[in-house]
Structure formats: structure tokens, C-alpha cells
């Protein structure tokens, strides 16, 4: 695997401010789906842990353990039912709703099912976060081309997701996740749909992001992958943290 020189990765953050050394902090966080007051069972119980800025964590556990739910808390798709949650220095359980979009723009997410916009080209999918952040059109092209080169898709920039292979779609997804140079990068079973070679290539991209200072959390089933890339891990079982 050829190392990408750091000088080529000097794209801009969409926003920057100090977040303190704790990128992510959970204090006795519980999560229950369904409307408040409804007695759905809690899917996450009493989670307490912290991830420092620039850290890398595997998120492990059997299917149904709550890995996706934990990531959803981190990328602000749900709010905790109880406890205190701090992401990028903001208290999520107390934050106003209109404070969340600005935070989301500094969190990159790679989904197992990619979640690309099917009617847009690879180029437009990758450019989307910059446009949402209000970056002038004239300044977008260079960054998007840089990202597409980084993930090796320069020759496919005009293709729509349906015209790309699973691995290529995943690389568009990661380019989109990092185009704003997020402070926190989350990946939910990102290698689930990839073969060995593509999975390894994706891991290199995630580690590259971590190397330049991004906090990275990767949920996975892939034990071989975890064995190859040694890092600290959070292990969930039945919604509880069994090791951190």
C-alpha cells in the first residue's frame, strides 16, 4: 500500500474551533427508541467512556449488541434518553436543535449501505457536504477532485452510484465523509460489502485520516481486520459496554 504524502491532504475543514481534548464523552448514557413515555426496552444502558481527540477505536460486539445505535448517538441521529453526552465539546442532551447541523458538518459518517444520492454523480455526491456548508462553487472543484483522486475514482466522477461497483460506491461514501475534513469520523461496518482487497484499501484510508488527527471509530464484525490493525476497542454486548 503506497503511503499518501500528507502534503496532498491539505483540504480545508468546513469549520474549526477548539473542542478540548475529549472528542467524545459518554456519562451513564441510556438510549431507548420510540417516543418519550413509551415503554420500549432500552437498547443501550449506562454507557460511560471517553475518546480523546485523535484516537482510534474499534467498536465490537455481536449483531444486535447496539453498535449502530451507539454510532447514531455519536453522529447525532438520535439523542440520549438519559445520561450526559458530549460530542466535539457540545452537550448533546441539552443542545438546541438548531445547534446540531453545525456539529454534524464536522462529523463524517461512512454507512454500511453507503447512503449515496442515487440521482447524483460521484462528483456531486462528494461535493454535497461542501455545498451544504455554503462553500462557493469556485472553491469546491479542487477539493472534490483531490478527494476523488485520493480514493482512486477520478476516472468515474461522472458516474452515478448505480453505475459503480460496491467497493467504488464505498469509496465515494468515504470521500464524501471526509471532504469537510471532519474532526470525528465514524464508520458502521464499512467493510461488510467489500472483498478482502477493497476492505484493506478502505482501512488504509481510515487510518490515513486518523494519522492526520481525525478521531476515528469503526464498528465491525471483521475479526481478521481487527487482528491486522491493532487498536483499542469498545466492546458491546446486549447494550452494555463489556470492555473499553
Amino acid at each position: 500500500m503506497k503511503r499518501v504524502p500528507a502534503a496532498r491532504l491539505e483540504w480545508q475543514e468546513c469549520r474549526r474551533d477548539g473542542t478540548g481534548s475529549r472528542m467524545v464523552r459518554f456519562e451513564s448514557v441510556g438510549l431507548r427508541y420510540g417516543r418519550a413515555g413509551q415503554a420500549d426496552p432500552e437498547v443501550l444502558h449506562d454507557l460511560s467512556f471517553a475518546i480523546p481527540e485523535g484516537g482510534f477505536r474499534w467498536l465490537l460486539g455481536p449483531s444486535g449488541a447496539g453498535k449502530t445505535s451507539l454510532l447514531r448517538l455519536m453522529y447525532l441521529a438520535v439523542r440520549p434518553t438519559r445520561g450526559r453526552l458530549s460530542i466535539l465539546g457540545a452537550d448533546i442532551e441539552r443542545a438546541e436543535r438548531r445547534a446540531l447541523p453545525g456539529l454534524r458538518r464536522r462529523i463524517g459518517v461512512v454507512f454500511q449501505d453507503f447512503r449515496l444520492l442515487g440521482h447524483l454523480s460521484a462528483y456531486d455526491n462528494v461535493a454535497l457536504p461542501l455545498r451544504l456548508a455554503g462553500r462557493p462553487e469556485g472553491q469546491i472543484r479542487a477539493d472534490v477532485m483531490e478527494m476523488l483522486r485520493w480514493v482512486g475514482l477520478l476516472d468515474k466522477l461522472a458516474q452515478r452510484p448505480a453505475q459503480l461497483s460496491g467497493g467504488e460506491q464505498q469509496r465515494v461514501a468515504i470521500a464524501r465523509a471526509v471532504i469537510c475534513r471532519p474532526r470525528l469520523l465514524l464508520a458502521d461496518e464499512p467493510t461488510g460489502n467489500l472483498d478482502e482487497v477493497q476492505a484493506e484499501r478502505l482501512m488504509q484510508l481510515l487510518k490515513e485520516m486518523n494519522r492526520i488527527g481525525t478521531t476515528v471509530v469503526v464498528a465491525t464484525h471483521n475479526d481478521a481486520m481487527v487482528a491486522r490493525h491493532v487498536a483499542r476497542s469498545l466492546r458491546l454486548d446486549h447494550g452494555r459496554l463489556v470492555s473499553a
Binding site: R97, R98, R104, L117, R131, L132
Partner: protein
């Protein structure tokens, strides 16, 4: 050069970059068509309101400001005065404050007036016709309380026919027509808003996944609402324009038909020329696409923002 620039731009951001796929979710078929129908109805209601207003004004200023005085046996000598009874009445009327003009109709005018009722042989009838005096008042509200007894004294049997009562009733009728037209406008605007809200809801449901993705990438409610509102505004404005243009020939035809009632001579408006439309309507018609656009904008904004509150 310009072509090169356009090509560069096309590569960067295809014209009408549509990240939410609204071109299909808010289709350009049904919505503009429905809004066009609303705008058409609104144009008719507007024309009704303007027409009723101008009829009311015409009646107040025209018929309302006149009296008809009938003097039986106008040629007979007046009692206690020299001259005829008609001359006595005319003299009295012309001395009365608030009366601008008093004029006896000629026999020909009288015959013309009676022709619809008595046929073309009026001149040869041996009926004793009263003399008829047409009185124009300085204004419709002139106070003429003591006129009738004084006319009775000058020429017994004289009748005063005041159009004021009828004008009052017709004016009230015109006012209620205006109110109906106003209510029709409000209802049409409300239905247009509802139509746009329903179309927007359907668009939200159809594009739910894309909206959730864009929301997750950090799009604000304002951003998403603006994308919908931009599209809804354009479609509604287009519909409003089509509706207003479609209403134009109908309004011209109506205006030509009603011109005589509003006191316009046929040659004033021409035969169906554009001049027959009241100037107010010429101002209001271009307002329809603007109003449709405003309704489209507000309805889409409100609907999308309310819907987005379900997302965290």
C-alpha cells in the same frame, strides 16, 4: 468565451443542481395546472369585485344624483301666476339649492322614453302625457326635504320620483357582491395554499431518504425548506401566470358585455378592445402570479419546516 465558461460551470454544478431530486418529487405537471385553475378563479373573482365596485360608483354618481319630476297638465296655466305649471315648476327647481340642472324633456325625448312600453305610435296617442323634468343634483346626498310640498303648492299633482331608494338598494347589492368576491378570493387562496402543502407533503414523502441523508450531512432546516420553497414558488408562479393569461379573454368578453351597465358607451371601450378592462384589473392581473408565488413560497416553507421537526 461565454461557452467555455458555461461548460466549466456545467461541470462544477450542473444547471439547477437538484440534490433532493425535487424535479421529480414536485412534478411540473399537476401543481402548476392546479394553481393555474386557482388563478383563473381568482381572476374571475377579482373581476367580479372590480365590476361590482364600478357599478356601485356609477349608480351613486349617475342615477343617484338625479330626480324625475312629473308635472300633469304642464301646459295649463299655473294658479296665481303667469305662465304654465311647467314653467312654475322649472323656476322653483332652478331656485332650489343643491340642484345643478333642471330640464324639461322634449316631446320627442318623452316619446323615446315611452316607446318600449307603448310602441312606435306614441306620438299619435291621445293620452294626456305629463311634462317630465329631469333634475340633476349637485351630489347624491343633497338634502331636498322640503321640495315636495313646495312643488305641490306651485303645481298641484306634481310627482317627484327619487331614485335614491333604488340606488341605495343597488349599492347594497353591489357591496355584497364585492364581499362575496372577496370571500371567493380568500377561499381560492386558501385552497391554493392547501394544494401546495399537499403536493409538498407528497414530495417530502417521496424524497424522505434523500432528505434524511442531506439532514445527516448537516443541512439546516432552512436549507432544505428553501430547496422545496424555491421549486414550489417557481411552479406556483408559472401556474399563476398561465391562469391569469387564460382568464384574460374571458374578462375582456365580460367587460365588453357589462360596459353599457357601467355607463360606458360602446365606442369608449371599442368592440372588445383591451381598453374595456378597468385599469385596476390591469394592475391586479399581473399580481396573480406574484400572489401565487408568495402562497407557494409560504405554504412550502411552513410544510417542510413542520415536517422536518420529526428529525432530530
Amino acid at each position: 468565451m461565454a461557452r467555455l465558461f458555461r461548460r466549466r460551470r456545467a461541470l462544477l454544478r450542473p444547471a439547477g443542481f437538484d440534490e433532493l431530486g425535487l424535479r421529480r418529487a414536485l412534478s411540473d405537471r399537476m401543481l402548476p395546472f392546479l394553481v393555474a385553475a386557482m388563478a383563473f378563479l381568482a381572476a374571475l373573482a377579482l373581476a367580479g369585485a372590480v365590476g361590482a365596485a364600478s357599478l356601485a360608483r356609477h349608480w351613486r354618481e349617475g342615477a343617484g344624483a338625479s330626480l324625475t319630476v312629473q308635472v300633469p297638465r304642464g301646459d295649463a296655466p299655473a294658479s296665481g301666476q303667469s305662465g304654465t305649471r311647467l314653467a312654475a315648476v322649472l323656476a322653483l327647481l332652478r331656485d332650489t339649492k343643491g340642484i345643478r340642472e333642471a330640464r324639461a324633456l322634449t316631446d320627442d325625448e318623452l316619446a323615446e322614453l315611452l316607446r318600449p312600453w307603448l310602441g312606435s305610435g306614441v306620438e299619435r296617442l291621445s293620452l294626456p302625457l305629463p311634462a317630465v323634468v329631469q333634475v340633476r343634483l349637485a351630489d347624491a346626498t343633497a338634502e331636498l326635504g322640503g321640495l315636495t310640498p313646495r312643488l305641490e303648492a306651485a303645481a298641484p299633482g306634481t310627482l317627484v320620483e327619487n331614485h335614491g331608494v333604488w340606488v341605495g338598494r343597488l349599492t347594497a347589492l353591489a357591496r355584497s357582491l364585492q364581499a362575496c368576491a372577496g370571500m371567493a378570493l380568500i377561499v381560492v387562496a386558501a385552497v391554493a395554499a392547501a394544494v401546495i402543502a399537499v403536493a409538498t407533503r407528497a414530495g417530502l414523502a417521496a424524497r424522505r431518504e434523500a432528505i434524511e441523508i442531506v439532514h445527516g450531512l448537516g443541512a439546516t432546516d432552512s436549507y432544505i425548506a428553501a430547496r422545496f420553497a424555491f421549486r414550489a414558488t417557481r411552479l406556483a408562479a408559472a401556474g399563476g401566470l398561465v391562469g391569469a393569461i387564460a382568464a384574460l379573454p374571458v374578462l375582456l368578453e365580460l367587460a365588453t358585455l357589462t360596459a353599457p351597465f357601467a355607463g360606458l358607451q360602446p365606442d369608449e371601450g371599442g368592440q372588445g378592445g383591451l381598453g374595456v378592462l378597468p385599469p385596476v384589473l390591469w394592475l391586479a392581473l399581473p399580481g396573480l402570479p406574484l400572489a401565487a408565488a408568495a402562497i407557494g413560497f409560504l405554504a412550502a416553507q411552513g410544510t417542510v419546516r413542520r415536517w422536518l421537526r420529526r428529525l432530530p
